[in-house]
């Protein structure tokens, strides 16, 4: 590599500033929100990570995998199981959830690498997700079946996380770290390789890039992120139930990715926020959920295929995804 003169101290780019401003502003939410709103805000962060993770596989890598609900459930159950049976503290269980989510991702990627792609991948991962739910229900001695597995007192570094406010600050920290880490990865050769594979796997290989490794990496990272989201979900509900990881969840995840913008990290954040908050807002019209999510995906596919973020990108270059650092 030719010699470059690295700038010593660079001012934060506009992008960078926004990145830190949003969570800083968010940190003030507990001053306004009642317990209910705080819970919703916490759920928003859970779903932001769910979407961030899912988008990596379907948006960035362009693989149609339904295993996201499975990653989510595995993360949540792993957290509850590690805390209940192995006496893990929450922060350790969180790591366990990330690792087990990652392992589930590895499994999915192995299938993808065996040439099971597109619809085959979709169907096999759909089956995998439903099979996991069957396991949660029937592995009763461990999971307590449909009664749900309660979490022991959730503490982080010895401090209780029972209140929504405490959960909020822990979740905020996790969310910021995971989103920043994902952003770092995407704005590097890793992110470009993933995108290149989506566009044309053969060409990518011809550039000396090991496509298999990056497919594995994407699934594992996606699984870990969603596993972490699962651990947050478990802490939020304090009891893990099989019903939380059924087929309705699949469409919710899809909708979040599509509405925000497939293949866009900022889009994931937007999709997670909007589609967690909106249904809460529409609480008064129960029964509309399937119609709502179905209609919203169709509308996006027909009229806004790149999601809300593409609208914003027209307004401000801040929302344009960049896959390099300068």
């Amino acid at each position: 590599m030719n010699q470059e003169t690295p700038q010593k101290k660079r001012p934060l780019s506009q992008n960078g500033r926004i990145f830190y401003l949003v969570p800083l502003a968010a940190a003030l939410i507990p001053f306004f929100a009642n317990d209910y709103l705080q819970f919703i805000v916490n759920m928003i962060m859970v779903y932001v990570l769910v979407t961030v993770g899912f988008n990596l596989v379907i948006g960035n890598l362009g693989q149609l995998a339904f295993a996201n609900t499975a990653f989510f459930g595995i993360g949540a159950y792993m957290t509850a199981i590690l805390m209940t049976y192995a006496g893990f503290t929450y922060e350790l269980a969180l790591v366990g959830a990330a690792i087990s989510g990652g392992l589930a991702g590895l499994l999915a990627s192995v299938t993808a690498l065996r040439g099971i792609r597109l619809y085959y991948l979709a169907i096999i991962t759909l089956a995998f997700g439903e099979l996991m739910r069957w396991v949660y229900i029937h592995a009763e001695p461990v999971t307590m079946g449909t009664d749900g597995l309660p979490l022991p007192d959730v503490t982080v570094f010895g401090m209780s996380m029972h209140s929504e406010t405490a959960k909020f600050y822990v979740f905020l920290l996790i969310t910021v770290l995971v989103v920043k880490g994902t952003s770092n990865l995407l704005k590097s050769r890793v992110g470009r390789a993933i995108l290149a594979i989506r566009d044309n796997e053969l060409t990518t290989a011809s550039l000396g890039i090991s496509t298999a490794n990056y497919i594995i990496l994407t699934f594992v990272w996606s699984g870990s992120v969603v596993g972490i989201a699962g651990a947050m979900f478990a802490a939020s509900t304090e009891r893990v139930f099989p019903e939380s990881f059924g087929l309705t969840e699949v469409i919710v995840h899809f909708a979040m990715v599509m509405v925000g913008g497939a293949g866009s990290l900022i889009g994931s954040v937007i999709g997670g926020v909007v589609l967690t908050a909106l249904p809460e807002y529409f609480r008064q019209f129960p029964g509309m959920e399937e119609l709502f999510f179905g209609a919203i995906i169709i509308a996006v596919l027909l009229f806004l295929p790149k999601g809300l973020v593409s609208l914003l990108a027209k307004v401000s270059p801040l929302f344009r995804e960049r896959y390099f650092r300068e």
């Binding site: 001053f31 317990d35 759920m43 449909t146 019903e243 029964g287 509309m288």
Partner: protein, 394 residues
């Protein structure tokens, strides 16, 4: 430190707002005005268990009727419906909304045991009086907590009823159980098993039949081989019909089938359309009469008055009895209502005839399972009949 000074003012304002918000803590008269009582009604109004929400419909019809009669001590019920979709996470959001945003005086409802278990801690911590009016998991109100009451027969009560009925048939030794793998079915099947065990009978076979299955051949053929004296079928409405039809198909019409609460005879018969297939089907029936019986007419009329077009099934009545008891307790608490007084009055409800439950309600501070037993309904001479035990009409 330019940034700090820039943030000082807004931060200070926010902190002050936070403190102010904090001081507005829930007190004993939360959710009350001189003319209203806010009641939170949580139920699965959407999602795949939405047929349970008939229970909330019945209960709300009752409250609306009381409102039309002038309310309680001049206060009318303001019902706030919250959907749980039978999903724990949604239920938690609903409970938190009712407690910390709508600030209801009391909560009455909940159909799904999973959701009820998930929200239990939240409700207990908030001190909101909560009458669980449909979910049957006994652990929701056991061990007792200061503010949670069970207003339906809980699982053990149903299990006791189902088990007792099965064992009341002379010579019952060989029992086969068929059930869904979900919390609903387990809450009936497990206590039934427990009761039968006390009588020295273990099920010969436990078979799974999942929701959405359209065929029960495998189960029925296994039953045919086992030749049981009684079958306990903890199945949801649709699957009950499929199961009974398949029994008939393979010529098993003489083995009695004990169903779970949630199906009723009239609708099951209507769906099957053939009395021969259902003549040996029995269901726990917590109410004084069958759906089409004269005893239920006034309740049916009440529901249809406020919810025209509602199809009435056994689910429709489940929560009305506890609403009757709650209204009684509110009356007894007098015009200067507080949560404390209300809870005290609920605990004074003893052997209370609700006019709809076959069994009276009794609550006390150390036993919140208000309804201890249920009757059973079955066909006698082709007519739906409520009965106490095998061959013993009420």
């Amino acid at each position: 430190m330019k940034t700090t000074s820039k943030w000082k003012l807004p931060l200070g304002v926010l902190a002050a707002m936070g403190i102010m918000a904090g001081t507005a803590v829930a007190d004993d008269t939360t959710g009350l005005t001189d003319t209203t009582i806010k009641v939170g009604v949580m139920g699965p109004f959407s999602g795949n268990a939405s047929s349970y929400s008939k229970a909330q419909i019945g209960e709300m019809a009752y409250y609306k009727m009381i409102n039309d009669q002038g309310g309680v001590h001049g206060r009318k019920f303001e019902l706030i419906e919250e959907d749980t979709a039978c999903q724990p996470a949604k239920g938690i959001a609903a409970a938190k909304k009712l407690v910390s945003q709508d600030k209801v005086f009391m909560m009455h409802g909940n159909s799904c045991s999973g959701v009820a278990m998930a929200v239990k801690d939240i409700v207990v911590e908030s001190g909101t009086p909560w009458i669980v009016a449909h979910a049957v998991n006994p652990n929701i109100s056991m061990p007792p907590t200061p503010n949670v009451f069970h207003g339906v027969p809980a699982g053990p009560a149903y299990g006791y009823t189902m088990g007792k009925f099965v064992m009341s048939k002379p010579g019952t030794k060989n029992v086969v159980m068929v059930e869904h793998s979900n919390d609903w079915a387990k809450s009936y099947a497990d206590p039934t098993r427990d009761y039968m065990k006390t009588k020295g009978v273990e099920p010969t076979m436990v078979l799974a039949m999942e929701r959405g299955q359209t065929d029960a051949t495998a189960q029925v053929l296994k039953i045919r081989q086992a030749k049981p004296d009684f079958i306990v079928a903890s199945l949801y409405e649709a699957e009950t019909v499929i199961f009974l039809k398949d029994l008939k198909k393979y010529g098993i019409t003489d083995i009695p089938v004990m169903g779970a609460a949630g199906t009723d005879l009239e609708n099951t018969l209507a769906r099957i359309g053939d009395i021969d297939t259902v003549k040996n089907y029995y269901v726990p029936h917590a109410f004084i009469d069958t759906v089409d019986g004269p005893g239920m007419k006034k309740w049916n009329d009440m529901i249809l008055k406020y919810y025209p077009g509602e199809t009435i099934t056994g689910f429709s009545y489940v929560s009305i009895g506890s609403a009757v008891a709650a209204v009684q307790a509110l009356k007894n608490a007098g015009p200067d209502l507080t949560r404390e007084k209300f809870i005290a009055e609920l605990d004074k409800i003893k052997d209370f005839d609700t006019g709809i439950f076959a069994t009276n309600i009794t609550w006390s501070a150390d036993d919140r399972h208000g309804v201890k037993e249920s009757a059973v309904a079955g066909f006698v001479d082709g007519k739906p009949t409520v009965m106490k035990s095998w061959n013993q009409p009420m």
